[in-house]
């Protein structure tokens, strides 16, 4: 999938150039706000990938489609990575702006629970030897955890929180200048492509491992050994 990697790298380069160099400093937060270009797209991805994982898991559960099971389980480590990035970069942004690395408020806590859900999915899948059974268990866990997604999204509106409200997905007009918005959207699309690349890499390993007794895997292995 070299063309996926090319698109990703082009979008990434454009997003980073726009975000780190072209966009002006924020009038309140100075240059510290530039963390936004990875923090917000990562947080979006952490939710997006979770929904993809739960939907794929659900499809696998109902129709027993192997490909859906593989997509679901291959998404988990990528989603966990983005959740981790969102939490760490949020902390690194919070320290200079809020004066603290962490607060137990609704947005931060629910995002932390999301990380535990991802880790739960990964751990549960690894703990069950029969991968068809493991996929079932993981799909149920993922589907139950979906309840956390709207909680994360609306947490900044439902509860008083230190975390700032949405600036992009507002109904009227985004309260972010276009020179800051464009790199943000570029990064968001770049991360979508990254997800595709990373998830497909995981899926390849998963498929090989599941089909280890199939002839095509055997000939692939013996070809690679020579």
């Amino acid at each position: 999938m070299p063309w996926l990697a090319v698109i990703f790298l082009l979008l990434l380069a454009a997003g980073l150039y726009g975000g780190l160099y072209l966009a002006p400093p924020d009038y309140q937060q100075g240059d510290s706000y530039r963390i936004i270009y990875i923090h917000v797209p990562s947080a979006w991805m952490s939710l997006f990938i979770y929904v993809v994982m739960a939907v794929a898991g659900g499809i696998g559960l109902v129709w027993r489609i192997k490909l859906a099971e593989i997509v679901a389980v291959s998404s988990a480590p990528v989603g966990a990575g983005f959740t981790f990035i969102a939490l760490v970069t949020g902390s690194l942004w919070g320290k200079p702006m809020w004066g603290t690395w962490w607060v137990w408020d609704a947005r931060l806590t629910s995002e932390l629970i999301l990380l535990f859900l991802y880790l739960g999915v990964i751990g549960l899948y690894g703990a069950i030897d029969d991968k068809r059974t493991a996929s079932k268990a993981v799909a149920i866990l993922a589907l139950v955890g979906v309840v956390n997604i709207p909680i994360i999204h609306y947490s900044v509106e439902w509860w008083n929180t230190l975390h700032q409200g949405p600036t992009v997905t507002k109904m009227d007009k985004p309260s972010i200048h276009v020179s800051m918005l464009i790199p943000l959207l570029l990064m968001a699309v770049a991360f979508k492509f990254y997800y595709l690349i990373a998830m497909l890499q995981r899926a390849r390993v998963e498929l090989l491992s599941r089909e280890r007794n199939a002839q095509w895997v055997k000939s692939m292995a013996s070809l690679g050994a020579e």
């Binding site: 160099y21 510290s32 530039r34 760490v88 890499q201 995981r202 055997k218 292995a221 690679g224 050994a225």
Partner: protein, 55 residues
């Protein structure tokens, strides 16, 4: 804007660059780990098949 100014990030260099470094490491790891695992798997399978073939 010169390079020094760019890297200084208006005094927020530590927070900004640590964020970008962590992101880079995590994203890279999630690409490299499956590639390493695939190679490992294929190598192990090849070994197993060889052993079974000679038995």
């Amino acid at each position: 804007m010169n390079w020094q100014e760019f890297f200084a990030m208006g005094g927020y260099a530590f927070y900004v660059w640590t964020s970008y470094a962590v992101t880079f490491i995590v994203l890279l790891a999630n690409i490299i780990i499956p590639i390493v695992r695939r190679k490992q798997f294929l190598r192990q399978q090849a070994l197993k098949q060889k052993r079974q073939g000679t038995l």
